[in-house]
């Protein structure tokens, strides 16, 4: 089967829908926009599944190694015979896996939004933006070229901006969308500089050539990039760290995570799609895409590992104290992405040592299901309660049985309880960390225990605790809202049984993975203890949580205030950058630049005021000037010709 015959439809169909709905949606497709978007998404989900089947089971493997296939590529901008920006589609295990995840989750969100966004004034615009996002994300995952990935990287950024600010009449949503855009844009500056350094030395932008040139020992490109050093680290390390900064911005890794909790201002299905399952893992995907390079440079890889672990634990601690359910989920996302990052960081290239890589991708895969499920459940809850705060909820298990079961399964999955999907991926991450770095292993176990605690704190607060006083005026939600919940519940429960390591590995060779029961005992039992603790605290209403919070004092308060990271950013931007750079620049602009322009304008005005008297409107004075001029010229000529 020839991929080229249909593969281009996968990213291009959502683009067509975006153009259609964006231009004519409000006029002609006011009510049918959702159906159009969903049907197209269904079509490309089927196409992606067909692609995945063909790739993994028919012709992806040559001699037992998964190849990277490029079915489509065309040169877009040719700078020099060697350097060009290409647009193309690459199929390798991770991009095919991402194709399936992105289209599938996007389809679920499209279906869910049919009910959730019903009656919204800008319904068609919403679907246009969703299609734009799907197009950009699919373009990102199939990029053949580091510059192509950068272009789509910015496109997902802008669609995230548009969707966070969807309720643009709410000032907080506008502020959140601006914050998300500026923070990720700032991080992308690092990414761009990283791209420039890498491509300058490798003399190419193509991923495959770039990786081959920079990992071949003694190649001239590798020598040129490693022989130069800057501030004690080689240029390769710098470039990879800068690329990682770009990924960290998009993936909400500490300390560039501040935009993610605020991004929850967007509609909840959007949070499920963009800020939980797909866009925020773009950073992980980027590091995985360049993994052969990272694994050849241990310094950069260690940065990835430690920053990821730090991000995981900080986010988990903050999540334990938040009361806005979407914010808890946002911090939980950040924590899980930290898991994926440090799994990549502790991994090495090759069959035996590449468990971390497989585990990271596996966790990305399972996380997409259970986290989008959690967000969609949260959406259904918010739809019913009309509040984001868990203090307004409680006892909802009888009112929304399907959501209750779905949420419980997702919580068990994220807590790593067997046999739900999160267990398998998390165990693999922890075992890879155990093999290479005990400190990170310890942080990982602690984080997974905290994860279990805060997820069940959320679960008990929403569905148990006090009795519900919400009037059930419109039921649990429409069928279109329940269907994705049921499908995703099945996926979150069963996705762990996919033999992932026989599909996705760092070097393409499949290998058998096995769950070591004795190794799993410690993390699982810690998670169970955390769940029981959460049940004791939050199942029935009591004053124990407040007592514990009081006894923890400062630690609780600073975690509740998110460790004052937002305040630190505000201090740096408002007090330092605004005062030291902004104000002098504004002064120069106002007084020197504007002053020069004003001076020119004033001089012109003065001169014109002086000479405009000549235009009196009197014909006879004009005639007089005319004759005066003639006389003057005549006198002049006579004088000259004398």
């Amino acid at each position: 089967m020839n991929y080229a015959s249909y593969i281009a439809w996968i990213p291009l169909l959502p683009l067509a829908v975006f153009v259609l709905l964006g231009l004519w949606g409000r006029k002609y497709f006011k009510n049918s926009a959702g159906i159009i978007g969903t049907i197209v998404l269904l079509a490309i989900t089927v196409l992606s599944l067909v692609t995945a089947y063909h790739y993994f089971f028919v012709d992806g493997k040559v001699n037992g190694v998964f190849q990277s296939i490029i079915p489509l590529q065309y040169t877009w901008l040719q700078f020099s015979p060697n350097v060009s920006i290409d647009m193309g589609i690459v199929l390798d295990p991770i991009s095919v896996m991402m194709l399936v995840v992105v289209t599938f989750i996007s389809l679920m969100v499209h279906i869910f939004s049919l009910g959730y966004m019903k009656g919204e004034e800008r319904f068609s615009t919403y679907y246009a933006f969703l299609s734009l996002f799907t197009f950009s994300m699919l373009g990102l995952v199939v990029s053949t070229n580091i510059f192509q990935i950068y272009i789509f990287w910015e496109l997902v950024g802008i669609s995230s901006y548009l969707l966070i600010g969807f309720y643009f009449d709410k000032p907080s949503a506008v502020a959140a969308s601006k914050k998300a855009f500026i923070v990720t844009r700032f991080a992308d500056l690092g990414f761009l500089i990283g791209i420039l350094i890498l491509s300058f030395h490798a003399e190419t932008l193509d991923f495959h050539t770039l990786i081959t040139r920079l990992t071949t020992a003694n190649s001239s490109q590798l020598i040129s990039i490693t022989s130069n050093s800057f501030l004690g680290a080689s240029k390769l390390t710098w470039a990879l760290t800068l690329v990682f900064i770009g990924g960290a911005g998009k993936s909400a890794i500490f300390p560039l995570h501040i935009w993610l909790p605020d991004a929850m201002e967007g509609p909840t299905p959007v949070s499920a799609l963009i800020h939980a399952a797909t866009m925020v893992v773009a950073g992980v995907y980027l590091v995985a895409r360049l993994f052969p390079l990272y694994s050849s440079d241990l310094a950069a890889l260690n940065i990835v590992a430690y920053v990821g672990a730090l991000s995981a634990i900080i986010a988990a601690i903050i999540a334990c104290t938040q009361t806005d359910i979407k914010r808890v989920l946002a911090y939980s996302t950040m924590s899980q992405i930290g898991f994926m990052m440090f799994a990549l960081g502790v991994s090495r290239y090759g069959n035996e040592h590449g468990i971390g890589y497989t585990a990271s991708m596996f966790h990305l895969f399972t996380h997409a299901f259970f986290k989008s499920l959690l967000f969609l459940c949260a959406g259904a809850v918010i739809h019913l309660v009309h509040s984001n705060d868990m203090k307004d909820m409680g006892g909802l298990r009888k009112l929304m049985p399907i959501t209750h079961i779905a949420f419980l399964v997702a919580c068990l999955a994220i807590s790593g309880i067997p046999p739900f999907s999160g267990f398998f991926s998390k165990e693999e991450i922890l075992s890879s960390a155990y093999q290479s770095n005990k400190l990170i292993y310890f942080v990982g176990v602690l984080t997974s225990m905290l994860t279990a605690f805060y997820m069940f704190r959320l679960y008990f607060n929403i569905f148990h605790n006090k009795e519900s006083h919400t009037d059930l005026h419109h039921g649990e939600g429409t069928f279109s809202m329940k269907l994705p919940l049921i499908i995703l519940t099945a996926c979150a429960a069963l996705a762990g049984f996919v033999p992932f390591s026989s599909f996705v590995t760092s070097d393409g060779t499949p290998h058998e993975s096995h769950v070591d029961i004795s190794f799993s005992i410690l993390p699982v039992s810690l998670s169970v203890i955390a769940i029981l603790f959460a049940a004791r605290l939050y199942r029935k209403q009591n004053d124990l949580p407040d007592k514990i919070a009081n006894s923890l004092g400062g630690l609780y308060r600073s975690a509740y205030k998110k460790f004052y990271i937002d305040e630190i950013y505000l201090f740096i931007t408002k007090k330092i950058i605004f005062n030291l750079i902004g104000r002098p620049a504004a002064w120069i602009d106002k007084n020197i630049v504007d002053g020069f322009m004003n001076l020119l304008a004033t001089i012109t005005a003065k001169i014109s005021a002086l000479i405009k008297k000549f235009q009196s409107g009197k014909v006879q004075s004009y005639a007089l000037y005319f004759f005066g001029g003639i006389v003057g010229l005549t006198v002049l000529f006579i004088y000259w010709w004398k």
Binding site: K612, Q615, S616, G617, K618, V619, Q620, A623, L624, F627
Partner: protein, 104 residues
């Protein structure tokens, strides 16, 4: 004929020219101004005819020029009087001082 030297005729034409110019600058009535312009044109005509007669008696260039100028003056008078009529329609006056809007 030769009893009258060229300078006499030039004096007459110069006098005519400056009379016309004086009229153009001092009169506010546009018809009078138009008449003054005709005076100036005619003084030039006299110049042409006189120079033709005295300097190149066997050629007709100056006389042709004069005929051209008379033709153009007729056309110009038509245009000028059309302007004056329009001005009168819009301002109810043919005083140039009254039509002073076209300034600055």
């Amino acid at each position: 004929m030769n009893d009258i030297p060229l300078t006499h005729i030039l004096f007459v034409s110069t006098a005519l020219f400056f009379i016309g110019m004086y009229g153009l600058f001092t009169r506010r009535n546009m018809i009078t101004m138009l008449m003054s312009i005709e005076l100036m044109l005619n003084s030039v005509n006299i110049n042409f005819v006189a120079f033709n007669k005295y300097l190149y008696p066997n050629q007709l260039n100056g006389i042709f020029f004069t005929i051209f100028i008379i033709t153009i003056a007729a056309a110009e008078a038509v245009v000028a009087i059309a302007i004056i009529i329009n001005l009168y329609r819009s301002h109810h006056s043919i005083d140039v001082e009254d039509a002073g809007e076209m300034k600055w």
